[in-house]
Amino acid sequence: MKILLEFARGPLFRLTFAVMVLGLARILILDIWGMIEAYRRAGDKNIPWKLTMIRTVEWLFPVKRVMHHRPLYSLTGILFHIGLLTVPLFLFAHVQLWRSGIGFGWFTLPRLWADILTIMTIVMGAGLFFGRLGHSKSRVISRKQDYLWPLLLIIPFVTGFICANLGVAPKFYHLVLLTHILSAELIFVLLPFTKIAHCVLMPLSQIVMTLAWKFPAKVDEDICVTLNKKGAPV
């Protein structure tokens, strides 16, 4: 068990963390590159920049839309995100690990706050899962990963909370700690390749959408061929 723990904390952590950071950087660069190319190719270069920027900011901080539709569910989502980002980044024990690993650390959450936020994240994660499951319209547009992600994301929170707060038998403790680390590493690896990539692509989503509708000049014929409707009026 100790060897497994050492492996999970050492090489496996470096591998998965690097995959996450570089993977996110990669998709960000690829998307920006694709956007620049789409803009160059576009027949109509008239892009509503200002409107797109406003929409981007609105979607990044969706306070305006909370009350729009299913307010409770939206609020659950926002609170979930707050806990999801702050606890792993500013937990004292995590920052301490960074200090011993890379030589410097940063601001940490007070203990009580960390506990409250952890419990909040777990509850909100479960809320997101059931909120999706229990709503017929949500079910229609949901993919498998939409159900699995909230569940996967709360595993490290539950196990971390157990490690930090509850006195457990030694063998069980190591198992829980291992689960904590491995589940977090699974999240790292999957992150750049699934919908969670929105953590870096979100700021681009509106502009990508706008650019995608600016087709290359005289491409209508190609589109018809692609859609098996050759000769159809455009």
Partner: protein, 624 residues
């Protein structure tokens, strides 16, 4: 996937792996990444990348000499690839030198601080100048792609002939001066390799290698892009190479005969076998192969022959560069995987540049292209915005970037962390005491220690005035000294003064007479007191007065500082009668709690998450 895709994916992965290792090398130094020692300071990076890199770049000057000086115009298709290969070869040399140098940021020194007696100085200058010349020789090719730079291209074309002449001259100089470099090791190199003729041997072998490198590179790229190979030209190059190799063999063996070392070839030790293998691979077998016309004109014969010369010459450079010194130094060196990956990565990265240039510029008569995607394929949506932005201009960039980042991540995962951990003294957290909420006090840095509720102590001590109760050394910028900087011994009394540090130029840089009076005995008793220089060393009102250089051990110092206070507090605070007992601080509520009374009492590992209960428990720990 076709072979171009597979090859490029592999090259990207090698580059990625090397990038991770290179970052580690620059962050943590050569000790972490290489197996080099003071006895074997030159390893794979010098033997393979620098020595062989320069040699492999010989194709540039050999082919330009054949084309421009000997006016053999039929070799025109080989000139551009040869010049490009040479340019990339020299960039490889510079890159690997930057990785290998202990102080790479001083690489410009040779331009200002001249040492004309050093062959290394000549090599450095020649590499620098020749790389510039190659760049100027090659730049008309990419410049031809845009009309914007037409004027510059015209000027460069005008100076082409002088540039070619300069290139040949510089190559002649430093191909041989790489050999001169090893004239300094007559007693270190094995006699079968050491000879005063090393510069001449290096130059002759470079010519043969140049011919064969161009052939090998032409065969490789033709295979890669499925185009007809230039077998006729390669056969001609092979025919020329056998004469050069024959001459090389003659000079080398005659030199051994004259120096009286010829018998060593048959002495039966591993050096003699290495020598025989080297000569067979590098010269004898290729000479035989290229002397048979049928083999010389066959693709297989050309492949084998050119590969053998290239591999054999690399082996020769590695042998001269250090392998044959092992017998004298007695220190066996085998490159670490990280050294190998850097070498492979540099070659891979430059191979990618080569392929890029072949696809983008007019290197060959016809430009090869990666297969483009069909415009009428149903688009696959991108991951992020679920949006299709059109097919990418660089084919396969999604695949290559994925291969690259995965290789970088694997590189980071494989790096031996224990080497990094042991690469010097790491500051313990207690040294960064300013305002910390909870500190981890770990004197011997073994990962075990106690969590120290710093903020709670400040509060209990009624504010910042209480700091001097514990901290009694004040460093510049009002930083606290780490406890261990004086209490150096974990369990032994130590000397806090550090006499040698004060006297050394890299440390205090103080002259003897700055502290000791002239003419008197130089003892601690007669020296000036510390406070004469270090005026603010002791904060006013510090609880502990420094009267002597002798300091208690780290463990004793910590305990003497903590226990009296705790004992006093316990006496006055009936709520916490056990406050002064060991488990108050060494309260390892760890998973091993039941066994703690045994082998490792009071130990608490930072790496476990259960540092948290300590923080929440404050100074109230469980009692056994």
């Amino acid at each position: 996937m076709n072979r171009v895709h597979v090859t490029k994916t592999i090259l990207w992965m090698l580059t990625g792996l090397a990038l991770a290792v290179a970052l580690t090398r620059f962050a943590f130094g050569l000790g972490v990444t290489t197996n080099l020692t003071d006895t074997t300071p030159w390893g794979l990076w010098i033997g393979f990348d620098v020595m062989a890199g320069v040699a492999l770049g010989a194709g540039g000057f050999v082919i330009t000499a054949i084309f421009y000086i000997l006016r053999q115009e039929k070799f025109h298709p080989l000139v551009r690839p040869a010049v490009l290969t040479a340019l990339l070869g020299y960039i490889a040399v510079i890159l690997s030198l930057l990785v290998d140098l202990g102080l790479p940021w001083n690489i410009w020194h040779m331009m200002i601080y001249w040492n004309p007696h050093s062959p290394l100085f000549e090599v450095g200058w020649c590499v620098m100048l020749y790389t510039t010349v190659l760049l100027l020789e090659f730049s008309p090719v990419p410049l031809a792609e845009t009309s914007r730079w037409a004027n510059i291209r015209r000027v460069l074309m005008k100076f082409r002939f002088p540039l070619v002449l300069l290139g040949i001259m510089l190559s002649t100089l430093h191909q041989s001066s790489l050999g001169s470099l090893f004239l300094i090791t007559p007693f270190k190199s094995y006699p079968l390799w050491y000879t005063p003729l090393l510069p001449i041997l290096f130059f002759i072998s470079a010519i043969a290698l140049g011919l064969m490198m161009v052939s090998f590179e032409s065969l490789c790229t033709s295979w890669l892009y499925r185009r007809p190979a230039e077998n006729n030209l390669v056969a001609r190059l092979g025919s020329a190479a056998r004469w050069v190799l024959g001459f090389y063999l003659l000079v080398r063996l005659l030199d051994l005969k004259i120096s009286g070392n010829l018998a060593l070839i048959f002495s039966g030790n591993w050096e003699s076998w290495l020598f025989i293998a080297e000569l067979l691979i590098m010269a004898i077998i290729p000479i035989i192969l290229f002397s048979i016309p049928r083999v010389r004109h066959s693709a297989t014969g050309q492949w084998i022959g050119s590969f053998l010369v290239v591999a054999g010459t690399i082996l020769n450079r590695v042998n001269v560069g250090g392998l044959t010194m092992v017998g004298t130094t007695g220190e066996y060196y085998f490159p670490s995987w990280m050294e190998v990956s850097i070498s492979a990565g540099i070659v891979a990265a430059l191979a990618l540049v080569f392929l890029f240039a072949i696809e983008k510029f007019q290197i060959w008569e016809t430009r090869p292209r990666e297969p483009e995607s069909d415009p009428h394929v149903q688009p696959a949506f991108s991951r992020g915005g679920q949006t299709w932005l059109g097919s990418p201009s660089v084919a396969g960039r999604t695949r290559y970037s994925l291969a690259f980042i995965i290789a970088v991540a694997i590189g980071f995962a494989l790096i031996p962390a224990h080497k990094i951990d042991s690469s010097g003294v790491v500051d313990i957290v207690a040294a960064r005491a300013l305002g910390g909420d909870t500190l981890f006090v770990d004197g011997n840095r073994d990962g075990f220690g106690v969590a120290f509720p710093h903020a709670a102590h400040i509060k209990a001590g009624k504010g910042k005035e209480s700091c001097v109760g514990c901290h009694h050394m004040n460093l510049p910028l009002d930083r606290q000294s780490g406890c261990y900087s004086c209490h150096r011994g974990m369990y032994l009394t130590a000397d806090a003064f550090g006499h040698d540090w004060h006297a050394s130029a890299a440390g205090g840089n103080v002259a003897c007479v700055d502290c000791h009076t002239r003419g008197e005995d130089r003892t601690a008793a007669t020296a000036r007191p510390c406070a004469d220089c270090h005026k603010d060393l002791m904060p006013e009102g510090a609880a502990i007065k420094v009267n002597t250089y002798t300091v208690p051990s780290y463990a004793d110092a910590m305990h003497d500082l903590c226990i009296p206070c705790h004992r006093q507090a316990a006496a006055t605070n009936s709520d916490h009668p056990d406050l002064y007992r060991c488990p108050t601080c060494h309260n390892g509520k760890s998973p091993d709690w039941p066994t703690l009374a045994g082998r490792q009492p009071w130990k608490r590992r930072l790496n476990n998450h259960n540092i948290l209960p300590v923080v929440s428990a404050g100074i109230e720990g469980p009692t056994p």
